[in-house]
């Protein structure tokens, strides 16, 4: 009897559940008017808002939020003279790439978006792009740092440099003319002492791209590749790894981690174990672009870490222009003084540029037109004039920075075309 009941119940429950699914997930209200173009433009979002990468994901989301709020407060996007409001539909993809696939399907098929910002994590992005590209849905991101979004996808835009380009710039600087370095106020002797270069980072896709870039740049410019130390995801204690780094006897170390909790502890260890102390000239410290933000320099100082002398790069000259200050102020006003201003600004500007492209395309639905329009768009960013190349890769100069007395400073050196070779334009496997 119980068995019978069980089966009846299962039949009933399956019905119930299936209908729940059908009813439940479609909370999207499409307000489409008669001529096909809707009066609301929906932008999907795939962001890691929980788990270990939540900090980065949150700042991405805030960047998009800020852009959308400003557009909507001004009445909306101007599409052929018609005001179109923007609606943001962000989903949390956590850390699991299969979730990204589900949410991509949901955004495309249920929420009917034809543009998505994110995901950032490279594996998630790979899964997402497999669906979005055939469906002609545009994907862009300002922090993903991967060629997957440029050469890897027809409908993708990468609004930041990628791991390889970044590393090219650092090595380019090491190899630059001493006179140029001298003029930039850098410690020429220290830089010209560098013979062996090593890289430290987490064992993940982004860093592998970085290793490939750093290695080929070192070869190109005649530096010796001392090796890389990649720690496994979930590492809590960096002491053994930093000790291994020390044993590679590098003259320059590229710290290729991009979040504070992965940067501060290794830096502390490097100062403490001896032999890797950049403040004493043991090594030359080359940082990821996060290191080139004043916020990081300040946080490091609070933690008792002196990052003076470090060389890093950024998509922006050092933030002293009134435009940048104004943007940062708006961010702080909206998200509090702890907000990750530079990360938020980066996503904000990318989103604004895409919106400008939409306005210039004069449509929110014709994907091909939008793609063409964005590729022609010039957005007057607070950092530099933003354009993308034929692959959808942001044409971004690398501003080489250094840190002096706890303050991030411009060296005045920038690189652009010379960085685009090898792994810059290919997906390293």
């Amino acid at each position: 009897m119980i068995n019978k009941k069980k089966f009846m119940m299962s039949a009933f429950m399956s019905l119930l559940i299936f209908s729940l699914i059908l009813a439940g997930c479609s909370n999207s209200s499409t307000s489409t008017n008669s001529n096909g173009d809707s009066d609301v433009f929906k932008l999907g979002g795939l962001m890691s808002l929980t788990g270990a990468a939540a900090l980065l994901g949150t700042s991405e989301k805030q960047g998009v939020d800020l852009a959308i709020d400003e557009i909507n407060e001004a009445g909306g996007l101007d599409i052929n003279g018609k005001k179109v409001k923007v609606e943001f539909i962000p989903y949390d993809v956590g850390e699991d790439p299969t979730k990204a696939v589900e949410y991509t399907q949901r955004l495309i098929n249920n929420d009917k978006v034809n543009m998505i910002v994110g995901a950032r994590e490279n594996t998630q992005l790979a899964g997402e792009l497999k669906i979005t590209d055939p469906a002609k849905v545009i994907v862009f991101n300002a922090t993903a740092s991967t060629p997957l979004l440029s050469v890897g996808a027809k409908y993708g835009f990468n609004f930041t440099d990628n791991g390889a380009i970044e590393k090219h710039s650092l090595i380019e600087l090491l190899a630059d003319d001493p006179a140029v370095l001298e003029k930039a106020g850098l410690d020429v002797d220290r830089i010209k002492d560098v013979k062996r270069v090593a890289l430290f980072g987490r064992n993940e896709m982004y860093v592998k791209q970085g290793v490939a870039g750093a290695k080929e740049a070192s070869e190109k410019h005649g530096f010796e590749w001392a090796g890389d130390v990649l720690f496994p995801p979930g590492t809590t204690d960096f002491l053994p790894f930093v000790t291994k780094l020390k044993e590679l006897k590098p003259d320059a170390v590229i710290l290729d981690t991009y979040s504070y909790e992965l940067m501060l502890p290794p830096l502390k260890e490097m100062l403490q174990i001896g032999g890797l102390d950049w403040t004493k000239g043991d090594i030359l410290l080359l940082g990821n672009d996060v290191m080139g933000t004043q916020h990081f320099a300040d946080t490091a100082k609070e933690e008792g870490i002196n990052v003076d002398g470090a060389i890093t790069f950024s998509a922006a000259a050092v933030g002293t222009t009134p435009e940048i200050d104004a943007l940062y102020e708006r961010i702080k006003k909206k998200f509090g003084k702890d907000a990750q201003v530079s990360g938020i600004a980066q996503t904000y500007e990318a989103t604004m540029m895409v919106f400008k492209g939409l306005e210039e395309a004069g449509t929110t639905t014709d994907t091909d037109k939008i793609i063409e329009a964005i590729k022609k768009t010039e957005y007057d960013g607070v950092r530099f004039k933003m354009t993308v190349d034929e692959y959808g890769q942001l044409v971004q100069p690398e501003f080489m920075l250094t840190i002096e007395d706890g303050v991030v400073k411009d060296t005045g050196i920038t690189y652009l075309e010379e960085l685009y070779y090898g792994a810059a334009n290919e997906i390293v496997e």
Binding site: I17, F18, C25, I89, E102, Q105
Partner: protein, 324 residues
């Protein structure tokens, strides 16, 4: 009496079948199909795992390993050796089973918490291999561009649900057979079961291996569905999620975990924009289920039904009464 029962059973089974067969005719939305297929795959996996968790009381924190072994095996066979699916899927399941079998013997020297952490340790080893054996698994990149089994999701749906029903039927028969009864006897009192001549170790090994075979098969289905195999898909979190589904659905009821798979998947879609709150609610539901709804959703419904009939039947206070 029993004949009537089995006829009715057949009827209700038929109803379920018809519903399932008809569903794709009404659903043209790829997203609904996608999550129904994903839920179906998870349901297959937890069905197998429930035989271990619910029937023997051994909690595995490491089934993501077998899930992943199946996924990677099928992906590699198809991508690197050009194997057809009807070869790669069975081999994926078998390999996961063989590895599960080899691991099961030593693992059952452990009990309770030690067993859980022992299985977790093995799963971590497997994950590190996925992450680092670049020439075979693609390392941190994983394997991208795993071919789909079918050109469209509807076929996927039929395939997955056909297997859900077949596997469900097999496991259901198994649980109702003397093996299942022996398992329950084992769970209740291992020493006693041993003394009446049940070869407990072999029984547990069999169940463990079977759950690994099924997990491996599920993993293969998943990898072809999403189009990539990544080490990030088979982590501790995946293992924990499997257990959460079983507990919330109702461990040891077989049908419960299947509902659990659907329930959690739908819940996660409902709460998709609530981010932190989503996982918070998962945690809370988990605690409440263990404390107040022994037997999960299905157990709760059953209990409600029985208490409406007659009060007073006391329930076993433990869902997965542990070995100790």
């Amino acid at each position: 009496m029993s004949k009537i029962t089995s006829n009715k059973k057949l009827l209700s089974l038929l109803i379920v079948l018809v519903i399932v067969l008809l569903l794709p005719l009404f659903i043209n939305n790829a997203f609904y199909l996608q999550i129904l297929v994903v839920a179906g795959i998870w349901a297959i996996v937890v069905l197998g795992l429930d035989l271990l968790v619910g029937y023997t009381g051994y909690v595995s924190f490491g089934h993501a390993a077998y899930f992943g072994i199946g996924g990677y095996t099928s992906a590699i066979l198809v991508m690197k050796f050009g194997a057809p699916f009807w070869v790669s899927l069975p081999i994926a399941a078998i390999l996961a089973g063989v590895i599960g079998y080899l691991i099961s013997k030593p693992s059952f020297r452990l009990t309770g918490t030690y067993f859980a952490i022992g299985t977790l340790a093995f799963a971590e080893i497997v994950n590190i291999i996925f992450t680092n054996w670049e020439s075979v698994t693609g390392g941190v990149y994983g394997l991208i561009g795993v071919p789909a089994l079918f050109p469209n999701l509807k076929l996927y749906f039929y395939f997955v649900y056909a297997f859900l029903i077949i596997i469900g039927f097999i496991i259901y028969r198994l649980a109702a057979s003397p093996v299942g009864k022996a398992l329950i006897a084992t769970k209740e009192n291992e020493n006693l079961a041993q003394s009446i001549g049940i070869d407990i170790l072999r029984m547990k090994q069999f169940v463990f291996t079977l759950s690994c075979v099924i997990a491996g098969f599920g993993g293969a289905l998943l990898v072809h569905l999403v189009g990539f195999a990544s080490p990030l898909s088979f982590t501790v979190n995946t293992s924990l999620e499997l257990i959460v589904i079983i507990i919330i659905g109702g461990a040891g009821t077989l049908i419960g975990p299947v509902f659990g798979a659907f329930f959690l998947l739908i819940l996660s879609q409902y709460l998709a924009t609530f981010t932190e709150l989503r996982l918070m609610i998962y945690g809370l539901v988990l605690i409440l289920v263990i404390k107040y709804f022994p037997g999960g959703i299905v157990g709760g419904i059953k209990r409600l039904a029985t208490s409406m009939k007659k009060k007073g039947r006391k329930l076993d206070g433990t869902i997965t009464s542990a070995k100790s």
